[in-house]
Symmetry: C2
Subunit: 475 residues, 2 copies
């Protein structure tokens, strides 16, 4: 979020004693100490950078345990990392220490199509899981934009979602069990191999979204779902935001669930049109892009039901993609939005706030007012079926007034979201970017419990320190 973080104070290289201790945990060819070797593990997609003092590439759980034990003895921070695709700084090792990258723990351990279950090491990419599942007509629900190269462990640790979450849920709803290593080096197996199970406390969901601060997820048992044979894409253009959001409410209020329900505000529509002529009718003030999946006659019936629900006041055009190619065209505009925006304004803040669906009109109106007040362009689009909007604050880096306004405006956006009963993150997580705003949302007693839980899982505070929870411990 903060686009110009203070450059981190460079940390001194690790001493020979520490290096020697780490070498007892891991073969030296998979342990890096040179800043040049460590640099690729210094950043994520947040544009923050902090070079770790060491990087470790374990190939098995026993090595992860040995690394945690070594770091604990050395009181050395340990930041676990999947592929570093997160946008919040969650994997940037601001406190130095060791980055443990699980990229070489990428084996699929078991797949049982009849049980709709796959078990894999945490470093397996989401894409590899999807390919293994697809061979049996199955898929794993989380579909972040980074799916092709982000890891299952990272998806779980950050609580990844994606457009499909509106029908199939996020990481939280699509994991059965985990293996993780706590800050004391204990290997913990949680959850089960079945879709139901209520024995013991739910450690699995506690780890989901904890961003490597409670444990290093090393292995996951994932719930797979049958892959529908076809997807149909609908595009509904409305004269204004109110019409589009009323349509979202109607679509979500009937049983045929869309598998994506994406919203574009007027500015996002204009950007999409500017990127490539998509034939969006003039006068479009807001647009919905809707995917419906299913098989044969059931799919037709669902698409009809959703089309009916999308129709109403303010609808200008409802278009059903005639072919796969046309559907991909419609989506290309959606996927190009984020890079288009960055090109337009390199000083861009992309938030993923959520409000209850019925509050979306107030959110969009409030954003309009804030844009006006702060003299900043704000473009919003995203997963409207979940009330999860990606709100983009754009500043011209050449205009110091805009650059100065962006942080103030962002705070006002957060206050607006919370006033509307919303949450500050739907799927990107907290990391560093939202850490200092967490106590705007979470009341002190809940936050105090979270700090105590952190103390249970990681008594020495070595796991990804400074992330996820506000730093000053509430009393």
């Amino acid at each position: 979020m903060t686009a110009t973080p203070a450059a981190p104070t460079p940390l001194p290289p690790l001493g020979e004693t520490a290096r020697a201790r780490l070498r007892t945990a891991l073969a030296s060819e998979r342990l890096f100490f040179e800043p040049g070797d460590c640099l690729p593990y210094a950043y994520d997609n947040s544009r923050r950078v902090a070079i770790p003092q060491a990087v470790a590439l374990p190939v098995g759980e026993d090595e992860v345990v040995a690394l945690v034990r070594a770091c604990r003895e050395l009181r050395l921070p340990l930041t676990v990392r999947g592929r570093g695709t997160n946008t919040t700084g969650a994997t940037v090792p601001i406190a130095g220490g060791v980055v443990v990258s699980l990229e070489r723990m990428n084996r699929i351990l078991a797949i049982s199509p009849g049980d709709r279950m796959i078990e894999c090491e945490a470093g397996t990419t989401n894409g590899d899981v999807q390919r293994a599942a697809a061979a049996h007509g199955l898929f794993w629900a989380p579909d972040p934009t980074s799916a092709e190269y982000s890891s299952v462990g990272g998806n779980l640790a950050c609580g990844a979602g994606g457009p499909r979450a509106v029908k199939y849920g996020t990481a939280r709803e699509n994991v059965l069990g985990l293996t993780f290593v706590t800050g004391t080096g204990q290997v913990v197996r949680s959850g089960c191999h079945t879709t139901k199970g209520v024995v013991g406390y739910d450690l699995t969901r506690l780890l989901v979204g904890s961003e490597g601060t409670l444990g290093l997820i090393t292995r996951a048992t994932l719930k797979l779902l049958p892959r529908p044979a076809e997807i149909r894409t609908l595009r509904a253009a409305y004269s204004d935001v109110a019409g589009a959001i009323a349509a979202v409410t109607r679509v979500m209020g009937q049983p045929a669930a869309p598998c994506a329900l994406e919203f574009f505000d007027g500015d996002a529509v204009a950007l999409a049109q500017a990127w490539r002529d998509c034939g969006i009718p003039p006068g479009t003030g807001a647009l919905l892009l809707i995917d419906v999946d299913g098989d044969g006659a059931g799919l037709d019936a669902d698409a009809d039901a959703i089309s009916r629900a999308a129709s109403g006041t303010g609808l200008i055009e409802l278009r059903r993609a005639a072919s796969r190619a046309e559907s991909e065209d419609l989506w290309a505009a959606r996927k190009a939005l984020s890079p288009s925006l960055r090109k337009l304004a390199p000083r861009k803040i992309n938030e993923d706030v959520v409000v209850p669906v019925t509050r979306l009109p107030e959110l969009v109106a409030g954003l309009g007012a804030l844009s006006h007040e702060h003299g900043l362009r704000i473009v919003s689009f995203g997963h409207a079926g979940n009330g999860n909007l990606h709100v983009n604050l754009l500043a011209d880096p050449a205009d110091p007034a805009q650059v100065a306004a962006i942080e103030t405006c962002l705070h006002a956006v957060f206050r607006l979201v919370l006033r509307l009963d919303g949450t500050l993150s739907g799927e990107h997580g907290v990391g560093l970017d939202k850490r200092d705003f967490v106590d705007w949302e979470i009341p002190a007693p809940a936050l105090a419990l979270m700090h105590q839980l952190k103390g249970v899982f990681d008594p020495d505070g070595i796991l990804n320190p400074g992330k996820t929870l506000p730093v000053s411990r509430p009393r």
Copy 2:
């Protein structure tokens, strides 16, 4: 589970000091001390009995907090109770102290159909939630047999499921946020009002299934779903268990999800037929009862897809209920199974074990072998789509050999389930009945963490002591 528990040592009445302290928390007309008044709160559906030393009926969160603080000062156990419909002894106050019944905290606080969300006090019955939701064409997914009179708080605290879980998930997947009171009397708000949210650790899911040992849930924000217009019932009779289970795997392997997929073994079929002639064809060795919900053409298409998937080796008859009345007839046999069994064998143990769906044939075969080995009749039926079977061990109370065998046989059933990668409870929970078997399933490191979490939420161990976790604290 243990059908003849040792009678609890009667506890002495509370002294006047303790009574006076409790009266500072609650008006005396909602505070009972006389054993006769306390008796209705002494048992649940597990057939265990332990008369509490006091019963409190708070009407608001402030009173719950005052009660917890009083109990903490007095070091008095506190067992929270919804309607006491659970089957595991989870609400039987074995350690004495105060039963806090939330039956008078039963207000629906808000319903927002456009957000598919309802907020209610924990003592609201599932049935009242369903009625309020139905007025807007919505429903709440958990549908335990006790739905009409069990409470939302109890459903959440026990992780309730029901037949519909196969399509819509259990309590865990259908709660957005909670308010709960910890063992120190802190009021904690967790979760959010939206279907996505990854800020902070997931305290909400940690409370789900914790059976009142981590906190007293006082309020819940529930996720509602659009209610399909119609339900169709299919009944598929197979010559043997293998054929029926293969069909379960096929049905679960295609995208049209049934909203119930219930299995009857051969004995259960015979019982259903004996209860009332349901026209099940002779030679039926296993049966599936399948509900499909939806609207119009989509429903027809789904029912067709599921019928095709249910067809295959071993199928004797596939019958589609022609009317609502016929569908209710088919289900009446399913719902009568449990009482029929109890009538047949008052000494009945009903388990709700789960195994991965593909292991069901091994489970059913293993149960057959155990039945033979221990000279006990075992009847199984239940939610096959989740691999969640209700395994009923029947003993003739007049036969001491059978009575003696039942406990040994049960242990063997548990070992079998765990060997098949299963879990000891899918939806009934642990309570007292399975408490001493939890460490058969959950490895020591996970259990140690759970004990530590208990210590965080309830440092003095006053909340529902002796439940959910094995009593001897692992080191």
